[in-house]
């Protein structure tokens, strides 16, 4: 790892609506992407709902910001870790999640999935490896 580059992990723990944490957390990720740090994003607990397909906020007067997650790949935020147990506990599978991808410039711009399903134990290891954790 380059000198002066830190490992930042953004941890999303809350549902996308109901509180403003998810929306304002996403704003931090987008701004942080400009800083040339090593970045990953974790989705645990109700945070996995942030990546749910088919979000419809029409009746609640809330802005549906889920399309913004699709932009993360263009911002070089390509490591999204989703905790498997959190999905299972909520009756969700990978198929319920947005299809988020990026173009790998080191591999002939092949389109690859940004989403990695990891176990709770693996998530704990990932957290252990970070220099800076921002928790929303």
């Amino acid at each position: 790892m380059q000198d002066g580059v830190k490992k930042f992990m953004y941890v999303n723990r809350r549902a996308p609506y109901g509180t403003v944490y998810a929306l304002e957390g996403l704003e931090v990720i987008l701004i942080g992407a400009a800083f040339d740090q090593y970045v990953s994003v974790a989705f645990i607990d109700d945070g996995v709902f942030q990546l749910k397909t088919g979000q419809d906020t029409g009746d609640s007067d809330m802005k549906n910001f889920s399309p913004t997650y699709r932009a993360l790949g263009d911002y070089d935020v390509t490591k999204l870790y989703v905790e498997e147990e959190s999905l299972q506990e909520r009756g969700l599978t990978r198929d319920d999640l947005l299809d988020l991808t990026y173009e790998d410039e080191d591999d002939d711009y092949k389109e690859k999935s940004s989403i990695h399903i990891v176990s709770r134990a693996e998530m704990a290891e990932l957290l252990e490896q970070q220099d800076v954790i921002l928790n929303f």
């Binding site: 403003v20 304002e24 704003e27 931090v28 942080g32 400009a34 800083f35 921002l134």
Partner: protein, 130 residues
């Protein structure tokens, strides 16, 4: 040790706002450096000088202002979160055409980049929230 401090919750509503202050004060008193205190989410409400708690209660806003003065502390309120919640400095008042400003002494309004920058510069970024 160089600390960065992130305050995510509002004053009086949530003890995180108090704990952040006590932690910051203790760190400074022990000779540690605090590179920045960043206020985000409802934490921006720690920076309004219109706060008027009952006489026999702690004044959370003034407490931060005094700490900033004593230690030349860099306290930044996130502009996007502040605009949503009506925290305005003189410049924002003019720019947004508002009839008042309310940012307390010692606080500055700036962007989220200041939070990332604090994470880069500090040895530890400590987050106070729910």
């Amino acid at each position: 040790m160089k600390f960065g401090i992130l305050v995510n919750e509002g004053p009086y509503q949530h003890q995180a706002a108090d704990t952040a202050y006590h932690f910051t004060k203790a760190a400074l008193e022990r000779g540690h450096e605090v590179v920045r205190v960043f206020f985000y989410h409802d934490g921006v409400n720690n920076g309004t000088r219109l706060t008027t708690p009952p006489q026999d209660e702690r004044n959370i806003v003034n407490r931060w202002s005094e700490l900033a003065k004593q230690y030349d502390l860099d306290m930044v309120v996130c502009v996007a979160a502040a605009q949503r919640r009506g925290i305005v400095d003189e410049e924002e008042k003019k720019r947004q055409g508002k009839d008042a400003d309310n940012l307390a002494e010692g606080f500055n309004i700036s962007g989220l980049g200041q939070l990332i920058d604090a994470g880069i510069k500090a040895d530890r970024l400590v987050e106070f929230g729910d």
